[in-house]
Symmetry: C2
Amino acid sequence: MNADADSTRQSLLKAAYEEIHRYGFQAASLNAILDRTGVTKGALYHHFSSKLQLGYAVLDEHIAVELESLWFEPMQQPGHPIEVLMAAIKQLGDHYECEEITLGCPLNNLAQEMSAIDDGFRQRVDTLYQRWQSSIESLLTRGQQQGSVNTSIDAADTAFFILASLEGCMSMAKNAQSHDELMRCGKGLMNYLNSLRA
Amino acid sequence: MNADADSTRQSLLKAAYEEIHRYGFQAASLNAILDRTGVTKGALYHHFSSKLQLGYAVLDEHIAVELESLWFEPMQQPGHPIEVLMAAIKQLGDHYECEEITLGCPLNNLAQEMSAIDDGFRQRVDTLYQRWQSSIESLLTRGQQQGSVNTSIDAADTAFFILASLEGCMSMAKNAQSHDELMRCGKGLMNYLNSLRA
DNA sequence: TGAGATACATACTGGTTGGTATGTTTGATG
DNA sequence: CATCAAACATACCAACCAGTATGTATCTCA
């Protein structure tokens, strides 16, 4: 694939991501994506064999990459595990504020919409959630070994609950369409995280 | 409206609820709902002026009623607030197990899908969430007055976080398609609730 | 018993959807 | 320079969608 071809592919992915983020996968219109990019239908079907494959590519190549820089990288920071976690959540909240709270977490949106009706989506989302969860889990385990995190908790279960709460907070904020509600929820989450200290 | 007319209306609401629960509102097909019920299109548009109004009716007359019996009634039980809360959550989890975990919480599904693109849905969901939250809040407040709940927490913020976590847990379980994951998440939630005791 | 409203039933429409068939242009390679 | 595949472009299609126009039973009530 030459450079031009790759750039049209990327612009399709970006436009598809935005369209899906706003309207969901099923309601996302290929024609709208084409209008937005100026790409023609022939070009789209040259790069992606179907709407479904385009959706998978958005997950694999766009959302997964964004999650990498927005979450997995901040989690690599040194320091007190609880504080690293809080900082990562805070950063996620800030980014989330910028790009329209009302659109929700792209990953959670797709999970909600598609996991019950398409297994390809479900498995991809599941893989990302598992990586997400284990990144939290290993942070907690490290803290337990260092003596900075309460050893009476189960790291895996707790990590899972933290992730669920985080998604729940973003979900509630999306519906309330209010940053205040997100902050409110964030407060509850921070309280909980503090209760995990040793 | 006579008894026959009301029963066709109810069967439309039920089928619409099921179709929406599985595929979402936008992807729900009126023809599929008609096939499922044996009702004709003329009858449907006699009872509901549009697909949107049908969707609103599903929220107002089906989901709201279900939430009433599944949550608000159990919350009226006497006893230790934290234990009442836990019992209500457990009951919700049991019911949730029966009717296909993979379909998710009907209210949360609609919130996710529609709140960003239709204000009628958003406001209805918001109202239900607010009632849901304040039912938890008043339980916590009662506990604080009785001395059974930690007085250092903010009842409103905490109630909001509990609700968000609950929705998050159901959301994660939906994607994982596993009751084990729901239980895992429930364990985390129970731990958190226990930490709120005085 | 007759008039009018309620409760349907049937057939249809315009618009949109994802997808395809068939072309043309462009760029790499021998 | 010729060749061939990659990278598009245009026009079209059948299926489906929500919604409507128009007709007909049935039920109520004066």
